[in-house]
C-alpha cells in the first residue's frame, strides 16, 4: 500500500457491497415476486433493475422483492419508494421499460407516468 488514494479506491469499490447492510435511507425498488409475479415475468424485470443499478453504480438504491401486491392481473408490479415521497406503482413492467424508469424516476426524480397503475387503469376503463 503506497498511498491513501489507493486505500480510498478499495473502500469505494467495496462500499457498494456493504451499503446494503447499513440503515436503509435511500430509494427502494420493490418487485412483486409472488407466484403471480413470477409467472408474469417478474424475474427478468428484477434482474434488469439489478443490472441497471450496477451499470450506473448507483449508491443508496436497494432492489428488493416482496410478496403478492394484490392486483395479480397487472403483474409484474414494481413499486418505487423514495424518502419523503409517496410510493409510485408501475404495472405490467417488462425488462425494456426498466432503463427508462431508472433514468427518469430513480435518478431523475420524474415518475414515468404512462407506466403507472393510475394511467393504465384510466386508459383501460
Amino acid at each position: 500500500m503506497k498511498s491513501i488514494q489507493e486505500l480510498e479506491a478499495i473502500r469505494q469499490k467495496t462500499l457498494e457491497t456493504i451499503n446494503l447492510r447499513r440503515e436503509q435511507t435511500g430509494t427502494r425498488v420493490v418487485v412483486g415476486m409472488a407466484t403471480c409475479g413470477i409467472a408474469a415475468g417478474a424475474r427478468p424485470v428484477l434482474t434488469a433493475f439489478m443490472d441497471e443499478v450496477a451499470k450506473r453504480n448507483l449508491q443508496g438504491v436497494a432492489v428488493a422483492q416482496t410478496g403478492c401486491i394484490g392486483v395479480c392481473r397487472l403483474e409484474p408490479i414494481v413499486e418505487i419508494y423514495k424518502p419523503g415521497e409517496d410510493k409510485v406503482t408501475y404495472v405490467k413492467v417488462t425488462p425494456d421499460m426498466v432503463g427508462r424508469i431508472v433514468t427518469e424516476h430513480v435518478v431523475g426524480d420524474n415518475p414515468v407516468v404512462e407506466y403507472t397503475i393510475g394511467y393504465y387503469e384510466a386508459k383501460n376503463k
Binding site: 503506497k2 467495496t14 456493504i18 409472488a34 428484477l46 439489478m50 436497494a62
Partner: protein, 598 residues
C-alpha cells in the same frame, strides 16, 4: 464489483459454529444455486452478533430480517419463501426483532441492542472477517493512514492519553501512559504485543473480537508500533481458539499482501510486521511478564516488576502489551478524536466495556455497554432477565480475580472504580449471573479450585496459600466447618494478597473475600447449622419423602440409581440416607411433590 440485491449474513463465531452454522452456510449456498440466484444473492460469513443464546443467527438484508435458532432444514424454506418470493418467514424470526404488528425493527431498536454502544464490536456481525476489502470499506486502515501521514508520534500518544482509554484486560491502566513509557527509552528494537490469552472462566470477549474483526487489532498494533517506534508485533493467542487463530492468519496474510503490514507502509518509510504466538493453555500466561517469557520460548512464569515491560520487556527490549479489546478501541479514537471517546462513559472510566454474559440469564451472549450503565440495565433490559422468573442473587465479574456484586448493588453504575469500591473488579469482562439456586460458598470454591489448578507454583503464597484456603472451603462444604474457619480464611487471604508475586496470586483470594463480605450468613449456615441454604452442597442436604404426600406409586424407587428407596403399596416410601448419593432423581420423578430437599 457485482451488485447483489440481497445478502445473507450468517454468524460463524465459535458459538454459532458449534451449533452448526457451517452446515447452514453450505445449505444456503446449495439452495441459492439451485434456485439460480447465485448472481443476485451473496452469503456472507460474519463474526459474532452477540446474541449467542439465539444462535445460529442469520440476518437477511436489505430487509434486515433477523432469523434465530436456524436449523439446516429451515434453510430451503428461507430460500424459497424469502429469497425467491420476498415473503419473510415470520415464524423463524427472532421474536423480539419484530413489533406488535410483525414489522421488522431496525437492529438498534431491538431490546438487546438498544442500550448497547458498539465500538470494539462495531464490525462484529457486520463484515466478513476473512475479507480485508470489507474491513477497508468500513473505514478500515484509515486510522493507520491518518496516524502515519498526519500525526506525529507524540500526537498519537497524546490522542490516546486524552481519550482516557484504560486497559480492558482487567487492571485498567491508562493505555496512553503505557505507550508514553515505552516510547521514552532509546532503543533500536521495541515490541508491540497483544494479549489474546483470554483465560477467565466464562469470558469470550476477546475471542469474538478476533473472530469478527481481526484487522481492527492488527491496525491498532501498527499504530502503537508507529507511536513507540517499534517494527515488530506479536499476538499471543490461545491455541484453544482455533477459529480466531485461523482468521488472524488470514488477516495477517491479506494485510501483508496489500502492503498494510510490511515495509514502507503508505510510502512513509514506516515498517511493521506481526507474528502469532500460540499459548498452550496455562492461565498464568495471561499475566504480562509470564506471557512475555512464554513468547521468548521460556517457561510461562511471572517475574517481579520493576523493571516494567515498557523499559525491559520482550527479549529485554521496551515493550507494550495491550489487551485485544483495548486495541479494538484504538482506531476509532484516532478517527473520531479523543473528545468523542471521552464523551462516553463516566468521569474516570471512558468509553465502553464488552461483557460476556453467562450463567442464569436469558440472553447469554456478548454485550458492549457504555461505562456507567447499571448492572440492573445489563441483566434485566439487555440480558432479558433471569430464566424461570427466579430471584437474582449476585453477579460475578472479573473471573478468578474478581468478586460478586450482590442484589443491593444492582444500581451501581459500572466502571473501574465503582466495582473496586464494592469489592469486585472490572476484570476482562466475564459476567456470570447467579440466582437463588446458586450456593455462594460453592462458587467461591469453584474459582479457588481454578486458581489452585492454574497456579504456576513459583511463589509459595499462591502455591501453598490458595491450596490451604481451598482445603478450608472443602471442609465447610462437607459439613465439617468449625468456628474460626472464616477468620482463618480472611487472614490467609490478606497474607496472600500482600505477598504473592504476580497479579493472579494477589487477586486469587478475591472471590472468597467478596462472598464472605456479602454472604457471610450463608457461610455461617454451612458452618453452624450444617445447612446449605441454596441446596447445592451435597453433603449438607438430605432428600426426604413426606409420608402424607406419598401415594406409594414407587416411581422414585424405580428411578433411584442406588436402589436406596424402599416401600410397598400403601406403605409410604423411605430413603435410606446412608446409601443416598443425593442425585435428586427421586425428586424429579415424583409427580406429587412428596420428595423434598432439606
Amino acid at each position: 464489483m457485482e451488485f447483489y440485491r440481497s445478502q445473507v449474513l450468517v454468524c460463524t463465531g465459535t458459538g454459532c459454529s458449534s451449533s452448526n452454522s457451517p452446515a447452514i452456510i453450505d445449505k444456503f449456498e446449495e439452495c441459492i444455486k439451485n434456485a439460480g440466484l447465485e448472481k443476485e444473492i451473496k452469503v456472507v460469513r460474519t463474526g459474532c452478533f452477540g446474541l449467542c443464546e439465539n444462535g445460529p443467527i442469520c440476518i437477511v438484508y436489505p430487509e434486515g430480517a433477523f432469523y434465530s435458532h436456524i436449523k439446516v432444514e429451515d434453510v430451503p424454506r428461507i430460500v424459497s419463501e424469502h429469497l425467491v418470493k420476498g415473503r419473510i418467514v415470520q415464524d423463524l424470526l427472532y421474536h423480539k426483532s419484530v413489533d406488535g404488528e410483525q414489522n421488522i425493527l431496525s437492529l438498534n431498536d431491538i431490546e438487546f441492542y438498544k442500550k448497547q454502544k458498539r465500538i470494539a464490536l462495531r464490525n462484529c456481525g457486520v463484515i466478513n472477517p476473512e475479507d480485508i476489502n470489507e474491513y477497508i470499506a468500513f473505514d478500515g486502515y484509515k486510522a493507520l493512514a491518518k496516524a502515519l501521514t498526519e500525526m506525529t508520534r507524540d500526537e498519537v500518544i497524546d490522542c490516546i492519553l486524552k481519550s482516557g482509554l484504560r486497559g480492558r484486560g482487567g487492571a485498567g491502566f491508562p493505555t496512553g501512559l503505557k505507550w508514553k513509557f515505552a516510547k521514552a527509552p532509546e532503543s533500536d528494537v521495541k515490541y508491540v504485543c497483544c494479549n489474546a490469552d483470554e483465560g477467565d472462566p466464562g469470558a469470550f470477549m476477546d475471542r469474538s473480537v478476533l473472530e469478527g474483526d481481526p484487522h481492527a487489532v492488527l491496525e491498532a498494533m501498527a499504530i502503537a508500533g508507529y507511536a513507540i517506534g517499534s517494527q515488530q508485533g506479536y499476538i499471543y493467542v490461545r491455541a484453544e481458539y482455533p477459529i480466531a487463530v485461523k482468521r488472524l492468519r488470514i488477516a495477517i496474510g491479506q494485510a501483508r499482501e496489500m502492503g498494510l503490514l510490511g515495509k514502507d507502509i503508505f510510502g512513509t518509510g514506516f515498517n511493521f510486521d506481526i507474528d502469532l504466538r500460540l499459548g498452550s493453555g496455562a492461565f498464568v500466561c495471561g499475566e504480562e511478564t509470564a506471557l512475555l517469557a512464554s513468547i521468548e520460548g521460556g517457561r510461562g512464569e511471572p517475574r517481579p516488576r520493576p523493571p516494567f515491560p515498557a523499559n525491559k520487556g520482550l527479549f529485554g527490549k521496551p515493550t507494550i502489551l495491550n489487551n485485544v479489546e483495548t486495541l479494538a478501541n484504538v482506531c476509532q479514537i484516532i478517527l473520531n478524536g479523543p473528545e468523542w471517546f471521552s464523551s462516553i462513559g463516566t468521569e474516570k472510566s471512558k468509553g465502553t466495556k464488552v461483557f460476556a454474559l453467562g450463567g442464569k440469564i436469558n440472553n447469554t451472549g456478548l454485550v458492549e455497554i457504555p461505562m456507567g450503565t447499571t448492572l440492573r440495565e445489563i441483566i434485566y433490559e439487555i440480558g432479558g432477565g433471569i430464566p424461570g422468573g427466579k430471584k437474582f442473587k449476585a453477579a460475578q465479574t472479573g473471573g478468578p480475580s474478581g468478586g460478586c456484586i450482590p442484589a443491593e448493588h444492582l444500581d451501581v453504575p459500572i466502571d473501574y472504580d465503582n466495582l473496586m469500591a464494592i469489592g469486585s473488579m472490572m476484570g476482562s469482562g466475564g459476567m456470570i449471573v447467579m440466582d437463588e439456586d446458586n450456593c455462594m460458598v460453592n462458587i467461591a470454591k469453584f474459582f479457588l479450585e481454578f486458581t489452585v489448578d492454574e497456579s504456576c507454583g513459583k511463589c509459595p503464597p499462591c502455591r501453598i496459600g490458595t491450596r490451604r484456603m481451598l482445603e478450608i472451603l472443602n471442609k465447610i462444604c462437607d459439613g465439617k466447618g468449625e468456628e474460626g474457619d472464616l477468620e482463618k480464611l480472611e487472614k490467609l487471604a490478606r497474607n496472600i494478597k500482600a505477598t504473592a508475586l504476580c497479579g493472579l496470586g494477589q487477586t486469587a483470594p478475591n472471590p472468597v473475600l467478596s462472598t464472605i463480605r456479602y454472604f457471610r450468613d450463608e457461610y455461617e449456615a454451612h458452618i453452624r447449622d450444617k445447612r446449605c441454604p441454596a441446596g447445592v452442597c451435597k453433603n449438607l442436604l438430605n432428600y426426604v419423602i413426606d409420608p402424607d404426600k406419598c401415594k406409594t406409586c414407587g416411581i422414585c424407587a424405580r428411578n433411584c440409581p442406588t436402589k436406596c428407596i424402599s416401600g410397598a403399596p400403601k406403605v409410604p416410601y423411605v430413603i435410606d440416607q446412608s446409601k443416598c448419593i443425593k442425585c435428586g432423581a427421586c425428586m424429579t420423578s415424583c409427580k406429587f411433590g412428596a420428595v423434598s430437599r432439606k
